[in-house]
């Protein structure tokens, strides 16, 4: 950090670090060195260099990283700001016994951060009165960032303290509740008015939803507005498609008078939570290949404190649709909601065998995205699928061809149901096939 406010060496007083000495401080993220490459009346530069122990990051007590090959020791992120907060704590608070006036005065400052993920740098620093200049480091997310502006030293330090980890997007330590306090304290006087305060809050708190809500509520309190107004950035963009899908599935199950229902690929239990509310589904069997997803489903369903009567309706089990699982036989209906597109096309015959031959329920519901509709999603770049794990997304004709082939081979009839708002040319965003065993008509 450089100033040309004269006498420039007064910077040392504001920072409580003498310009003619190199000092070292032991901090929780490594050894922080403070020294002055330049210290004249006209111009004074203070440097903060953090030496991180790369081995301790992986093997030390409380280690949080798993890779020795890691950019953390070089990048300006949360490790650096922990050191910053510890070495310059008094200056950041704006206190200076010897130069109280100067501490309250905006002075010309240039801050250089030589390795910083720079994508959001201009967007986040500019509203705070900085001019941002970036030199990119090749084909990487890092750049050499220079901030120029006339600000109080304490404000400059606070901005860096909050925004460096925000730009980096990851924290090296577990985000605990007291991080909200740290954020509000360092953000005092500028965060509430920042146009990107939701983004900053979300990223600073490493996307921990309960913490974010709490921070936003308290910020709203400062601004005297409703938290919902602030929270709109966090709301699901497509609020209702998932809900409409579940509704359509439940409607089709009821039409089929299904009582014993399989949710194949139940994931975190989004559909299970709806099924359990409907007493006519007397047996609900959720299956997923991911043991982690099943734990999540059990947690969200509150299985552990469910009444015995409710609890005995639900079974959660790990299984895979590419293997024949006789336990799945004998049910009235099976739902594959947004599942087939996560299976490699070459494995679809195995899925077909598991579902339509081994499980063989009277009714099978399959929903999947209609790729024709993708063009209508503004945020979805052309040619990109809706989810990074999708192995394919089908047009209506492609889905129909697959569904009819299955029905023909396995003795089912099939009809198609659109889900979500229908476009005259492109159809609905989600398509559902309803397979019924034997001749329905």
């Amino acid at each position: 950090m450089t100033t040309t406010h004269q006498p420039a060496t007064d910077l040392g007083h504001l920072l409580h670090k003498h310009p003619d000495r190199a000092q070292s401080f032991s901090t929780s993220s490594g050894v922080a060195h403070v020294f002055y490459p330049k210290a004249t009346n006209e111009e004074c530069t203070v440097a903060l260099l953090l030496e991180v122990d790369p081995i301790a990051l992986v093997r030390g007590p409380g280690s949080t990283l798993t890779q020795y090959v890691n950019d953390r020791p070089y990048a300006a992120g949360s490790l650096l700001t922990v050191a910053l907060g510890s070495v310059f704590r008094t200056a950041m608070n704006g206190r200076s016994e010897s130069f109280p006036e100067l501490a309250r005065t905006p002075i010309p400052l240039v801050v250089r951060v030589p390795a910083l993920p720079h994508r959001l740098a201009e967007r986040l620093f500019t509203p705070l009165g900085w001019t941002v200049e970036v030199t990119e480091h090749g084909d990487s997310r890092y750049g050499d960032v220079t901030l120029t502006g006339t600000l109080k030293v304490s404000d400059a330090l606070k901005h860096l303290y909050v925004l460096l980890p925000v730009l980096d997007g990851g924290k090296h330590y577990w985000v605990a509740a007291d991080e909200v306090d740290k954020l509000l304290k360092a953000g005092d006087g500028w965060l509430a008015a920042h146009p990107d305060k939701e983004l900053i809050t979300t990223r600073y708190l490493a996307r921990k939803r309960p913490l974010i809500t709490s921070a936003l509520e308290r910020l709203a309190d400062v601004d005297e507005v409703e938290p919902e107004e602030l929270d709109n950035a966090l709301a699901e963009p497509k609020i209702s498609l998932a809900a409409q899908r579940k509704e359509a599935v439940i409607k089709a199950l009821k039409e089929a008078r299904a009582k014993r229902v399989l949710d194949l690929g139940c994931g975190g239990g989004a559909l299970l939570r709806e099924l359990v509310k409907e007493p006519e589904f007397t047996e609900i069997h959720g299956v997923d290949v991911s043991a982690k997803a099943l734990q999540e489903a059990a947690r969200k369903l509150h299985l552990d404190r469910m009444s015995d009567r409710l609890r005995e309706r639900i079974t959660l089990r790990q299984s895979a649709l590419t293997y024949a699982d006789p336990e799945l036989a004998g049910y009235d209906a099976a739902v594959l909601m947004e599942v087939v597109e996560h299976v490699d096309p070459s494995r679809l015959p195995a899925l077909e065998h598991s579902v339509f031959v081994v499980a063989r329920p009277a009714v099978v519901l399959v929903t999947t995205p209609n790729v024709e509709y993708n063009a209508l999603f503004e945020t979805l770049p052309e040619g990109q699928m809706r989810h990074s794990d999708h192995r394919f997304e089908w047009t209506r004709a492609e889905f129909a061809a697959w569904a009819e082939g299955v029905a023909e081979r396995r003795g089912y009839t099939v009809r198609h149901v659109p889900i979500g708002p229908e476009d005259t040319e492109r159809g609905a965003p989600t398509q559902m096939a309803v397979f019924s065993l034997g001749d329905e008509n």
């Binding site: 440097a47 020795y68 950019d71 390795a115 895979a320 490699d344």
Partner: protein
């Protein structure tokens, strides 16, 4: 007196309190075979005489009895069992396990019982109880057979009890002592001429009577014929077939199980009301031309046929319609019905014939099961079972399988003898070939390997592998092998490196390995190449396809055309190769950009600026000399690091730039090569020509004189090589590590970070534990070889997949990823 009981049965002791059941049981059976109601009352209620606990006690007793019987263990029930409803429950337990129930009644006189009880202080329940037991027992006696007991032994006196001995008899279906070799014949259906032809083809000598009729066939060299049943009906000469087969069976030259057609013929011959169709009309008509005496013999013969046989020490099971493993060697109406008719659902199809479930798809037993009954166009293996009914009577062929050589021999039908109710040959069924079941891979598993015995896979390891296998791996039909992990050499105690070849040589020398091969380690991604004449796959260590779509097909095509010489040399339609695919960025580009390049960029951005700031400070006279020296060193480490990873990346456009270095020929049709020397592998694979292939540089080293090997490694790594792999030249496997890697000093920067060479860092990194990794490497190697051997033996897919899945499951074990 001898009490004969089947060698697998449920023995129900029946007798009043004090009749001496427990003493009898103790004398004749192992303590673990005897389940006493008193004991179970004690288990659930802490009091053996607490009658209020009886219901719970019997629940548990029945449960334990079921488990024992399912496992095929003789089990004895020591309870009074004087009431019919109590016995009915036990009979049900036996039937459910397909085991015969037998009764042994201790009809001890009342006075004796009372006398004995009087001597036991815990049995103070008075004479009326014993008298009631005795009365119930006397009433039951003559109905025991009807209740379902296959044998009833009554011991009327104390001397009977004292003098009796248990004599075990084998079941009628138990021919385990018959070890063959056998020729197993499919359904004959009255096609005498074809049967005679096939017998002659197989070397049997036909014996004819005065009228020229075949009445026996003498097998060559100790062989024996086995018929899967359905000798009769539909065809032109059922009496002729029976005359021949009956003669063979009588002479000890053949065995035959019962088919559903024999079952029905017996009923018809006995005058029962049966619907005469499906060819029964032919048999009945043909038999009218025979003597009444012959007809009686036929009736007796067919009636005496057993529904299934267990042969050759349990390795071979013959049943007309097949038999799942849990029914092998068992006896019950259910087992018999399955053996005769198959797994019927009760429904009928469009042709009025019963719908049958494909039990063979689910078969996982180790015994070979041979059967007929279901028409198939060709006899084919499904999970160690084979159906031999190839429809000779419908104009197909008569098929026999030679056991144990598995050779199929058939003769064509001389004509269409009977028009089929269903189209023949049957359309090539959409039989899901080798369906894999969830139970083939989940839960706690023990997989027997030829190299190191059983390998255990824990349930949670299977669970994590299930997700990876199911979501990302290629079709299991192409996933015949996964490569094992490889451990690094023991950590070097030299102060400038972490790994050094002298430790690898010393390790093998200590294990008695005199010659090792050093192979250059290619820095790319491990690839397994299954090259079929049509199709195949190129996949990663976790079973993912390397390249999608057209690119993958193109690469496979290039490899295939290079392999044509090897196809001929090993007369095979497919080859399985172990290889390294380069460059590193061909598959790992995401990882490289996100992790490796990011470190380079951040370090390259930060460190030079730091150095120059420190130099300025130093120029002002501030003492930063130590920090400046360290930071300068870090900057140069970062440079070295950057150079290290960039060496393994080069631009790839489509397939241009992709290179494959094959180093082991894993398997081809019917054979594996894991016992060949590594030089043989490298030499054989060096015949793959073209710009796509890269040779693997190597050097054979004598472990007693390893200096040349050390030098070779130094040169290799000084020139930027990743390092080398040291393997026993003779490819020993199992006993010692199949290979250890010795990585170069510079290369390890991209594993342990740019600054790992700093002495203080090296000192800490040296404390790495290799034991777990080495254990995994041995087990995964054994599983991989086992998979290959199972493929070579033509075993069912589930048996191969079990091993491949096992490798992936072991890989889910948390092990330091830098090893």
């Amino acid at each position: 007196m001898d009490l004969k009981i089947p060698d697998l049965c449920l023995v129900v002791l029946i007798g009043a309190s004090g009749s001496g059941k427990s003493t009898f049981a103790r004398k004749h059976f192992l303590p673990t075979q005897v389940l006493s109601s008193d004991y179970f009352r004690g288990l659930v209620a802490d009091d053996e005489n607490d009658q209020s606990a009886s219901a719970a006690a019997f629940d548990v007793l029945h449960y334990v009895a079921s488990k024992r019987l399912e496992a095929g263990r003789v089990t004895v029930i020591d309870a009074t069992n004087v009431q019919a409803p109590d016995r009915a429950k036990l009979i049900e337990v036996a039937k459910r396990a397909n085991v015969l129930p037998v009764a042994i009644v201790l009809d001890t006189p009342t006075e004796v019982c009372l006398q004995r009880n009087a001597q036991r202080p815990d049995r103070d329940f008075g004479a009326h109880v014993v008298k009631r037991h005795r009365a119930a027992l006397r009433r039951s006696l003559k109905f025991l057979g009807k209740e379902g007991f296959k044998r009833v032994h009554v011991l009327r006196s104390e001397s009977d009890v004292d003098s009796s001995t248990i004599v075990y008899e084998r079941l009628l279906n138990d021919l385990r002592h018959e070890t063959g070799p056998f020729d197993v014949f499919g359904d004959v259906h009255g096609c005498r001429a074809e049967l005679e032809e096939l017998l002659v083809e197989l070397g049997y000598l036909l014996v004819r009577d005065d009228e020229g009729r075949a009445i026996d066939a003498v097998p060559p060299a100790d062989r024996k014929a086995v018929f899967v049943g359905d000798l009769v009906d539909r065809g032109p000469d059922t009496p002729g077939v029976l005359r021949l087969v009956m003669g063979m069976v009588a002479a000890g030259h053949a065995l035959s199980v019962r088919g559903n057609h024999e079952e029905k013929l017996v009923r018809a011959l006995r005058g029962h009301k049966v619907t005469v169709r499906h060819g029964l009309e032919k048999s009945l008509e043909q038999l009218t031309h025979e003597t009444p005496e012959f007809r009686r013999e036929v009736e007796k013969f067919c009636d005496g046929l057993i529904a299934h046989y267990v042969l050759d020490g349990g390795n071979l099971v013959v049943a007309h319609a097949g038999l799942p493993e849990r029914y092998h060697g068992r006896a019950s109406a259910k087992v018999r019905s399955f053996a005769l008719y198959g797994d019927t659902t009760g429904e009928t199809d469009a042709h009025g014939l019963p719908v049958r479930l494909p039990w063979a798809n689910d078969y996982r037993g180790s015994a070979m099961v041979l059967y007929g009954h279901v028409l198939v166009p060709e006899a084919e293996w499904i999970n160690n079972t084979m159906c031999l009914e190839t429809g000779v009577v419908f104009g197909g062929k008569l098929t026999a399988l030679r056991y144990p050589s598995r050779e199929i021999v058939s003769v064509k039908a001389h004509q269409v003898w009977y028009e089929n109710d269903r189209p023949f040959p049957p359309p090539v069924a959409e039989r899901a070939p080798d369906v894999l079941a969830l139970t083939d891979v989940t839960g706690l598993r023990r997989i027997d390997t030829s190299l190191i015995g059983a390998v255990t896979i824990r349930a949670e390891q299977s669970a994590s592998a299930l997700e990876v296998m199911s979501r990302f791996a290629i079709d299991p039909h192409d996933l015949l092998y996964l490569p094992p992990t490889m451990a690094p050499t023991a950590t070097s105690q030299r102060d400038d490196v972490l790994e050094h070849p002298e430790d690898a040589f010393a390790e093998y020398a200590a294990a008695g390995v005199t010659q090792v091969i050093c192979e250059e380690k290619h820095m790319g991604s491990r690839a397994v190449l299954l090259v079929r004449k049509e199709g195949g796959a190129i996949y990663t260590r976790t079973g993912r396809a390397f390249f999608d779509g057209a690119l993958g097909t193109e690469l496979l095509d290039r490899v295939r055309s290079a392999c044509s010489g090897l196809f001929d040399e090993f007369s095979t339609d497919w080859l399985l190769l172990d290889a390294e695919l380069m460059p590193w960025n061909a598959k790992a580009s995401g990882l490289i950009r996100e992790q490796y390049a990011a470190v380079g960029a951040a370090a390259g951005g930060a460190l030079p600026v730091a150095v120059s700031a420190l130099e300025s400070a130093a120029a002002r006279g501030v003492d930063v000399s130590e920090l400046l020296a360290r930071t300068t060193q870090r900057a140069s480490n970062a440079e070295a690091y950057r150079a290290a990873y960039e060496r393994y990346c080069w631009p790839v456009e489509g397939l241009d730039g992709v290179r494959i270095a094959p180093f082991q020929l894993l398997a081809a049709e019917g054979r594996t090569f894991h016992d060949r020397s590594h030089l043989w592998h490298l030499e054989t694979l060096s015949r793959l020509e073209g710009p796509l292939f890269q040779q693997t540089r190597h050097l054979v080293v004598d472990t007693a004189d390893p200096a040349a090997g050390v030098r070779w490694w130094e040169e290799l790594t000084a020139a930027g090589g990743e390092g080398m792999v040291v393997k026993p030249l003779a490819n020993l496997g199992g006993r010692v590590q199949p290979g250890v890697k010795v990585r170069g000093r510079e290369y390890l920067r991209i594993i342990y970070g740019p600054d790992y060479t700093t002495p203080s860092n090296l000192a800490r990194l040296r404390k790495r534990g290799l034991g777990r990794k080495r254990g995994l490497a041995l087990r995964e190697y054994a599983l991989g070889i086992e998979a290959l051997e199972r493929v070579a033996r033509g075993e069912p897919l589930w048996r191969v997949h079990e091993c491949v899945f096992g490798v992936l499951a072991l890989e889910s074990e948390p092990v330091d990823p830098r090893l």
